[in-house]
């Protein structure tokens, strides 16, 4: 059977009094397309359907959305991975305001990212060439620097849903630790002080939703664990 039933969340504040689900049928000719391909086929039928996309290869973080209940990137999610009983339900990332259809307002997510001062800080003058870093020191950044800011993690995190203004969330904390873990950064103390309160870090309940959905295979929970350790060590 190659006709796929697709149900898409629709909302346009200009024309709709409330969000609704719109059903489509799409002939995939039996191909294992990516969810993004399906969206493009739908948009060719109904040009008012809105979603974000850019790289179409899982590196820019544009098309994070909720597919059959799980967050992920539409462009690197093959139908075979998500479709159940021939049905695909597409919703915007949960917990952020919807601008239109599958497009969410990421402002809160970015605000938390900016809050952790996501840039290298080094109080010593830079040398004439690069700062040296051993391969072992550099290895510590693997699994951290690859984050693409897609927000799949933070919008699957109950703690972020309840306190998006106070809990930094998995993505922001992953970035915070990326700089703490960098042998070239000298601001760990200040970075920790910035988030040493009951909410910023400690709202994480270790539910691991973030790890389960990260399309880049990153592990924010582990990074949060490391930050906790540093905070505890600092406190004693």
């Amino acid at each position: 059977m190659s006709t796929l039933q697709v149900s898409v969340y629709r909302y346009n504040a200009e024309t709709d009094s409330a969000p609704y689900m719109q059903d489509f049928e799409i002939d995939t000719h039996g191909r294992d397309l990516m969810v993004l391909n399906i969206l493009q086929m739908l948009k060719a039928k109904d040009s008012t359907l809105v979603f974000r996309a850019s790289c179409r290869e899982g590196v820019c973080g544009s098309d994070g959305m909720n597919m059959n209940g799980k967050n992920g990137l539409a462009c690197v999610t093959p139908l075979s991975e998500v479709v159940k009983n021939n049905k695909l339900v597409l919703r915007p990332l949960p917990g952020l305001p919807v601008m239109r259809d599958l497009v969410v307002d990421m402002a809160l997510f970015y605000k938390q990212y900016e809050r952790i001062q996501p840039y290298l800080q080094n109080e010593n003058p830079a040398p004439a060439i690069e700062r040296l870093q051993s391969p072992e020191e550099r290895d510590k950044l693997d699994g951290l620097y690859e984050c693409i800011l897609c927000a799949c993690c933070s919008t699957s995190c109950p703690s972020f849903w309840w306190n998006p203004d106070k809990f930094v969330g998995p993505a922001g904390l992953l970035w915070a630790y990326r700089f703490m873990a960098d042998s070239r950064d000298t601001a760990t103390r200040d970075r920790l002080a910035e988030i040493d309160d009951p909410f910023s870090v400690f709202r994480c309940r270790g539910i691991m939703n973030c790890v389960n959905v990260c399309p880049k295979g990153l592990n924010p929970t582990r990074a949060i664990g490391k930050i906790r350790e540093l905070l505890m060590a600092n406190a004693t």
Binding site: N12, A13, E14, T15, K43, A44, S47, T48, V50, F51, R52, A53, S54, C55, R56, E57, G58, V59, C60, G61, S62, V76, P78, M99, R100, D101, V103, M106, E114, Q117, P118, Y119, L120, N122, A126, A128, I129, E130, R131, L132, Q133, S134, P135, E137, R138, L141, Y145, E146, I148, L149, F179, D182, R184, D185
Partner: protein, 590 residues
């Protein structure tokens, strides 16, 4: 019109990719009133996709490495129509720009001695081609573009750069003297259209690979900057020069980096033969990209292609071992599994030459100032307009770009443009406001789409355009196909002028954005087609079956395309570097 909101800046930078963000950083530090305007959140710009690295003689892999060798390779790679003063500037300023990136936090991979990791890339040599293969491409695994773009964005946050994210630039605004004095832009979230007045307008809008049906480029690479410049009547240079990257994943178009071959991978045909040994006995798989892409197509045409349809070749990596692949090429392993359904640790990847990079663009000097040509054939600065990055043609890539040289181009010339704009703002210059009719002129095409009531729709027209380019302006080109292509594009222009935008809503209307992008795709495609038809020789990426040889007598020149007359002229190539002797044109072999 009377109700349109105005914003004013000292400098507006259109584009939040590597080039735009590097320029912005310079200006943010200067305290000038600057903003970056980008149709996507900056870290979603195409620079994020760059994999293999940034090429620069920082002397890490080889302490004796020399920027002059890098310059020699780049001039040769360009097939001698890269401007030698600009290439010299890039190669000498390069190390500074790369070290700056490192100081900003870019997580480069490292050698055991703690210095930045460098890998071999195509077209690289030591000692002016006499000392064998060089390793000059600085890498952060195979995610260099991601690392670079995020680092630049982060440092712009640190410097409090103003961002207009998810804003779309529609058209340039010119005053009565034909100076560029700003841009019409649309806030995508609300649909509000705003006049942005600025003393300096920087186009950093990236490439336009989406004119082809099969491309490694992001969906947003629609050549908006080129479209805006051409509609404003300004010329573009060497626009026929499109790079086809040897290793796009067959069927998907997604790129696997040249770094795969740099790390020791190689191409094989259906007989398992490493065929590049026949075409480029010395450099083999690391010959120039144009050379490798043509060899692949010849293998396929001569019946040695792989697969059911014999329409691709294979990239073999399994002999490198799992450790090297996971350490140096983790992103490639991921992409191959997702898009080719093969695990390169065990099997080869099916690949085919795929449209990748626009060597041509808006002609500029090394300060990023956009140029046009006056009646006497002399370069003239377009007041108020700057360009840097892939949209610009400064020209360091000539007719064939070397791998890793684009990222270097972005940071070197993004920085140069920023510095020059700061200086010229400090010196002060006359700024003449646009009149109401100047502004109206820049709103014409937006209004046309908004008022359309019936006609063909955007997705079909776009697909047709991409197919015309794919069929008639690919790796090998010939007169009769190109003539057909030019004719089809002229017809398409008529049809697009009467096309229809069904969705007239304001908020986050991406159908409107795609319509505006279609106009730009058409501008780039038509300029490409006419220039390709008129350049009657083969050079670099421009390979004609009917004119198979390089013709230095008539074509050791930039082509320059004038949109009003749809005519192709010529512009001199610079052969006068400041500190080294000219690299004279030679027969180009690898």
């Amino acid at each position: 019109m009377a109700t349109m909101r105005n914003l004013s800046f000292d400098a507006i930078i259109i584009g939040g990719g590597g080039a735009g963000l590097r320029a912005a950083l310079e200006l943010a530090k200067s305290g000038k009133k600057t903003a970056v305007l980008s149709k996507v959140f900056p870290t979603r710009s195409h620079t994020v996709s760059a994999q293999g690295g940034i090429t620069c003689a920082i002397g890490s892999a080889d302490p004796n490495d020399d920027w002059r060798w890098h310059m020699y390779d780049t001039v040769k790679g360009s097939d001698y129509i890269g401007d030698q003063d600009a290439i010299e500037y890039m190669c000498t300023e390069g190390p500074k720009a790369v070290f700056e990136l490192e100081h900003m936090g870019l997580p480069f991979s490292r050698f055991d001695n703690g210095r930045i990791y460098q890998r071999p890339f195509g077209g690289q040599s030591k000692d002016f081609g006499k000392g064998g293969q060089a390793a000059r491409t600085c890498a952060a695994a195979d995610r260099t573009g991601h690392a670079l773009l995020h680092t630049l964005y982060q440092n712009n946050l640190k410097s409090n750069t103003v961002f207009l994210n998810e804003w779309y630039a529609v058209d340039l605004v010119r005053n009565q003297k034909n100076d560029v004095v700003g841009v019409i832009a649309m806030c995508i979230e609300t649909g509000e259209v705003v006049l942005i007045k600025s003393k300096a307008t920087v186009l950093a809008t990236g490439g336009a690979g989406r004119i082809y049906a099969s491309t490694t480029n992001a969906l947003i690479n629609t050549g908006d900057g080129i479209g805006m410049a051409l509609r404003a009547g300004f010329p573009v240079q060497d626009i026929e020069m499109w790079q086809f990257h040897p290793t796009g994943i067959h069927g998907a178009g997604v790129l696997v980096t040249e770094g795969c071959r740099g790390e020791g991978g190689y191409l094989i045909n259906k007989d398992g033969e490493r065929f590049m040994e026949r075409y480029a006995p010395n450099a083999k798989d690391l010959a120039g990209r144009d050379v490798v892409a043509r060899s692949m197509v010849l293998e396929i045409l001569e019946g040695r292609g792989c697969g059911e349809n014999g329409d691709h070749v294979m990239l073999k990596l399994d002999h490198l071992g799992e450790d090297v692949l996971l350490k140096r090429l983790p992103g490639i392993v991921e992409l191959s599994k997702t898009f080719a359904h093969v695990d390169p640790v065990k099997e080869p990847i099916p690949v085919v030459p795929t449209c990748h990079y626009m060597m041509g663009g808006i002609p500029t000097n090394v300060h990023g100032q956009a140029l046009t040509i006056d009646e006497n054939g002399k370069d003239t600065v377009i007041n108020g307009l700057y360009a840097c990055g892939e949209v610009a043609c400064v020209s360091v890539h000539g007719s064939n770009r070397l791998g890793g040289n684009s990222l270097l181009d972005l940071v070197v010339f993004g920085r140069a443009a920023g510095m020059y704009i700061e200086e010229s703002l400090n010196n002060g210059f006359e700024y003449h406001e646009p009149t109401d009719s100047d502004v109206e002129a820049s709103l014409l095409r937006l209004n046309r789409w908004n008022e359309s009531s019936e006609g063909e729709t955007v997705p079909d027209l776009k697909a047709e355009l991409q197919q015309i380019m794919q069929n008639n302006f690919g790796v090998f080109r010939k007169e009769e196909n190109m003539q057909k292509g030019v004719k089809l594009l002229a017809e398409l222009r008529e049809r697009i002028a009467h096309a229809y935008l069904p969705d007239k809503s304001n908020g986050f209307n991406t159908a409107r954005i795609e319509a505006l992008e279609l106009d730009n795709l058409l501008e780039v495609a038509e300029a490409t087609a006419i220039a390709a038809l008129e350049r009657r020789e083969s050079r670099g990426a421009h390979s004609r079956e009917d004119y198979p040889d390089r013709d230095d007598e008539n074509w050791l020149k930039h082509s320059i395309y004038f949109p009003a007359e749809k005519k192709l002229g010529q512009r001199d190539v610079n052969f006068s570097p400041k500190t080294v002797d000219t690299f004279e044109p030679k027969v180009r072999t690898y």
